[in-house]
């Protein structure tokens, strides 16, 4: 687990920003987010099997003002997944961290993202599928309380991730077997690649070419 001096980082961040702009930066728009990198690693594995957008929600703990720790607990809401869309309909509650993925290397939020997911989430982040596939564990963009922050930093930390709950997932208009989905997500986040692979074969249809090219 990484040890970090939050206050020091925060002060330095403010100072650097102020140097650049010569203005006093409002504190509210400079979040520091601690994120378990294991989340991104699990999503990278997930992209061996799926070709749609995906969304996860995680609880947040406010450690100090504007310094947030994304808890290593993941909630997969009920959602419908398509190549370029995701509709989530259940929630973990207020003040959560929502991460969704973008197909290819589209690293900016769309207008729909801004109006819906970003407006409804306390912290909304995106990562591109390309980054995940290339194992570049870097968040591409963030919205904080619905706004683009003037400045933000993401600090990654290592931690195993607990799966809080897995909702009903509709993948390309097909409802996935809920029990198998739950097991799949749990083994995915537990890093059990053999089970993940076996369950993926059951869950995703044989037309998914990604499965045939799998070499696990």
């Amino acid at each position: 687990m990484m040890v970090f001096n939050f206050r020091k980082l925060f002060n330095r961040q403010n100072r650097d920003k102020n140097k650049q702009n010569n203005t006093t930066m409002p504190e509210a728009s400079a979040p520091i987010i601690f994120l378990p990198v294991n989340l991104l690693k699990a999503l990278a594995t997930l992209y061996k099997y799926i070709d749609t957008e995906f969304l996860v929600e995680m609880p947040i703990k406010e450690m100090e003002k504007n310094i947030f720790k994304v808890e290593p607990k993941v909630f997969i809401p009920d959602m419908e997944l398509e190549y370029a869309t995701v509709y989530a309909e259940t929630s973990l509650g207020e003040k959560t961290f929502v991460l969704h993925t973008h197909p290819g290397d589209i690293d900016t939020f769309s207008a729909i993202d801004e109006q819906s997911i970003n407006a409804q989430s306390f912290i909304s982040a995106l990562i591109t599928q390309r980054n995940l596939e290339q194992k570049k564990y870097i968040i591409d963009d963030i919205r904080y309380q619905g706004q683009k922050p003037d400045y933000y930093s993401v600090v990654y930390y290592e931690s195993p991730i607990e799966v809080l709950d897995v909702g009903l997932i509709t993948y390309h208009q097909r409802l996935l077997d809920p029990i198998a989905t739950q097991q799949f997500i749990e083994s995915l986040f537990a890093g059990d690649y053999r089970s993940t692979n076996n369950l993926a074969k059951r869950l995703f249809n044989r037309n998914n070419k990604k499965l045939s090219s799998l070499s696990m």
């Binding site: 009920d78 995701v86 259940t90 929630s91 290397d105 729909i112 596939e133 709950d165 009903l168």
Partner: protein, 349 residues
Amino acid sequence: MVINLIKSGTKKVLTSLSELKGEINSNDNYKVTVFDLTQGSLVSANILSGKEVEQFLIQYESNSNVLVKISVYRPKMAAAHMHLQIGKEQIEVTEEQAVKIANFLKIMDVNIKNGIIPEEYREAVMHIISETPSSDEDSDNVDSVVEKIANAVAEKIITILSPLFATKQKKTQEADNVGSDTTNETINEVLTVLNEIQHQKKSQEQPQKQTSNKNKSQSTVKKVVEKKQKKTNKKDKKTTTNAPKKTQPQKPKKEVLTMNTAAIEVFDTIYDKLPNQAGLASFLARVVVYYNPDAELKVIRKRFKNILERYRADYVVAGEKIITYLSNKGYNTPPIHEAINYYTERRSK
């Protein structure tokens, strides 16, 4: 009954309904999903108000094999990127355009890898974008959408596949004698029409490249189709007066299409996914759906499967039966026999 309650960023596991009291906010809505643990199956998924949750769960209270998941429901939170990626280029589109393109790609059975549309569909996609108004005008007109998709398909065929037609035509002339006169006449006719379209398209594009006059190109396609229909009508009259009457496939209610207008490239993609004999019904059904976007693939496939099983010794008869079926249903009739030949030829390679 075991209840998994997701609330305020945590999961609470409750073992009885009484524990739920005080946990549910009557002003909130909840999604309540019930699982049967013995069957490992989903029993129900309902969106209930806070007041209704407890009442609803009473029926499961004494059932120890039930798992209930309760989480806060919210109106759908959407994330959708309205950028299309074709090859390496990103194009911003409106939602309406995206929907139409998605429909088009679905009809074409395009393999979207990593959300990237293959480069060869660029022209067709760009055509849909240019044909789809960014405002709300005629947004609900399904016919116009289908028409536009059809036009886009036509354009794609004209630009990409026209070199293939000649080869296909030669092959047909050499190999196939069954109804070859009429087929080749039609092929020639369609080729002329396609060349005409291509020629007109080029001559239109050169002087007016910057002013995108979409209506003109649309009307040319329409005119040519009309012209083609008139010609075929005339020919039909001639053949009926001169030739002795034979039992021919029932005249389709809609336009009869030839292989020339089929996107061979698309069929190749479809074929690759159905490489065995059993896939013929599926292949033919997809060909039909390609020409009839409103047709239901499953229904057609099932029907074709039955026909092919019954007449498997004779594909000519089976083809005729399929054509009759399509005509009766009022579908556009693609060249079924040619599609069967195409499929079997490719299989024998």
